[in-house]
Symmetry: C2
Subunit: 334 residues, 2 copies
DNA sequence: TTGTATGCGTTATCAA
DNA sequence: TTGATAACGCATACAA
């Protein structure tokens, strides 16, 4: 039989024939085994060059039992936060000659397990970035996904490498900041319910707000438009400060306030999360909880890379975010 | 021998043994060949389920001569424009069961050919998004990259599918707009010199400006910071309107003007390219040349998909961008 | 309809 | 050091 796609133009056998050696020797030369006679080495290299030979990655994959590929699954490729993580991973992995496959789960918690498992089949390892699936589903699936690294998510009883952010600390910093500014009524624009980091922000917020200020929570989302649409209602609660699920939402709200002539931070303060590049370019510049996004990606790769080498990965890391006080927060003015 | 990674837990042979059939029959069942006895089909499915069998994608790839993977190469994963194209491709491809591998060429024209070729080895087809490499290098390389689709780039004498944007028309629309507003002196913040679309914008601009207004060109870049840094010098030329290479640069310049108290559009008008999501959320809202970014990705996939099926791809498409007049442009006020 | 045998392109074992 | 040869896991002619 033959593959129905055109078979690879030139194979290791062609090179072997031209160089008058065995395929095994060609393989050795291509893989820089230094146990080949210089003369043969030269012949092989010349033959390979003249034929334009390139080893088949698929065949190598099958023979070696590895693909040289890893995958990252993100909830939404449209979110700058995840783009940055992807960028960090991609740039770190390429140095070690790994390529990155990217899967967008479209914020669909129920489809994630299937998607993850299917993706895993085509690569050597996985990075699950802020997975939305349920704990127990991920736990069950874990053995079939290994090796994998979790970003922005921890799962009780699961001993896999994790790279995360202490959003609780971030929330407390925000609360302290707003309290110091005199705010007594705060609205939280809540992100996707499936987002564990949203849950963390929310619960810490409830806790930290107690006795300090009134807290209203509004269902929102994770994109500009979500913030834009919910902004008015947030203001209508009487809140004088708004904490957004992320920078996108915050900037969306800012847009609406600008349009309707609501002064920021004069009438209402706004805080975001992530510190995406655009946060410095909103007007006023967005006060936000800065998360080292690309570094999250790099750290994730460090761990996955170690696992791929069958080494012990570095210890879990949890970044403490830094509150970037910029222009969208100000003292309460009655 | 054995693969040095743990061999796949369960193979087609294990299923065959449990189901008491031949591996060939298992293969037929897994691939929905409808020539298998219902009883055997049942036995195979049950065996596969109980063993948790998943066919090895690598082995399938080798046997079928295809990987089920495509790749997209972009100059910079940090650019929202390319992110959107990636998103469009990824979402279109997954529907047809293709996964997407992403390669970031770091805006390095010289490394692109190697990167492209190496990437091509691991996938069935390629999308080159705004490649920065030289025409002749791409032409030479073309046979080894096929099938591939070009986005935002056309190469003389190269008969490969192309999805592009008529930036010339976009530039003329901008020029007409600014001229109508009375501007007599315009500065262009030039993008990466290796960017062909930058060259197109530049040459059309020179042409269109002739006899209408004075044109200053400033070397800039493609990111926020580039626009931020060059903004002052652009103003110092005496220009009353600034055309930026893209929205990122425009927004960067806007940020600087905001900081230094330069009124936009009162003192200077600003125009961008692309219409990234953030363009609606700058203040004022950015006047920009809107490019259908995700659609570029979808159209690219349409063509690549056809080529992968050995069908004739749809004709080349060239989008005419639409000028979105928003808040950063205004009549010249002396 | 089912099973046997072969090939996909490489790597790796083992004997020479 | 080199070359047969056997995997790797699957899909598919071909024979039964």
């Amino acid at each position: 039989m033959r593959a129905f796609e055109r078979p690879q133009a030139v194979t290791i056998r062609d090179v072997a024939r031209v160089a008058q050696v065995s395929p095994a020797t060609v393989s050795r030369v291509m893989n820089r085994r230094n146990s080949v006679d210089p003369e043969l080495t030269r012949r092989v290299q010349q033959a390979a060059a003249s034929l334009g030979y390139q080893p088949s990655a698929i065949a190598q994959g099958l023979a070696r039992g590895r693909t040289g590929l890893i995958a990252i699954m993100v909830p939404d490729l449209g979110n700058p936060m995840f783009q940055s993580v992807l960028r960090g991973i991609s740039r770190a992995a390429v140095v070690e000659d790994y390529r990155v496959l990217v899967t967008d789960s479209h914020e669909m918690p129920l489809e994630e397990p299937l998607l993850a498992r299917e993706t895993r089949l085509r690569v050597d390892g996985l990075v699950l970035c802020a997975p939305r699936a349920h704990d127990h589903e991920l736990s069950e699936l874990a053995p079939k996904l290994e090796p994998f690294v979790l970003v922005n998510r921890r799962i009780a009883g699961l001993a896999t490498s994790t790279v995360s952010v202490d959003y609780g600390a971030g929330v407390r910093a925000v609360v302290a900041h707003l309290t110091a500014l005199g705010h007594k009524h705060v609205a939280y624009l809540s992100g996707p319910m499936a987002s564990v980091s949203n849950q963390e922000r929310l619960s810490t917020l409830h806790e930290a707000a107690r006795g300090r200020f009134e807290l209203d929570v509004l269902e929102c989302g994770s994109m500009h438009e979500d913030g834009y649409e919910v902004a008015d209602r947030a203001l209508a609660t009487g809140a004088t400060a708004i904490i957004a699920y992320n920078d996108l939402v915050a900037i969306g709200a800012l847009g609406k306030f600008q349009q309707t002539g609501v002064a920021v931070p004069g009438k209402v303060s706004v805080v975001g999360f992530d510190d995406i590049p655009f946060a410095r370019y909103s007007m006023p510049m967005l006060t936000t909880v800065a998360v080292p996004q690309e570094e999250l990606g790099r750290e994730a790769w460090q761990r996955l890379s170690a696992m791929l080498r069958h080494e012990e990965p570095p210890a879990d890391v949890c970044f403490t975010p830094r509150l970037e006080v910029r222009g969208t927060t100000a003292p309460l003015r009655p």
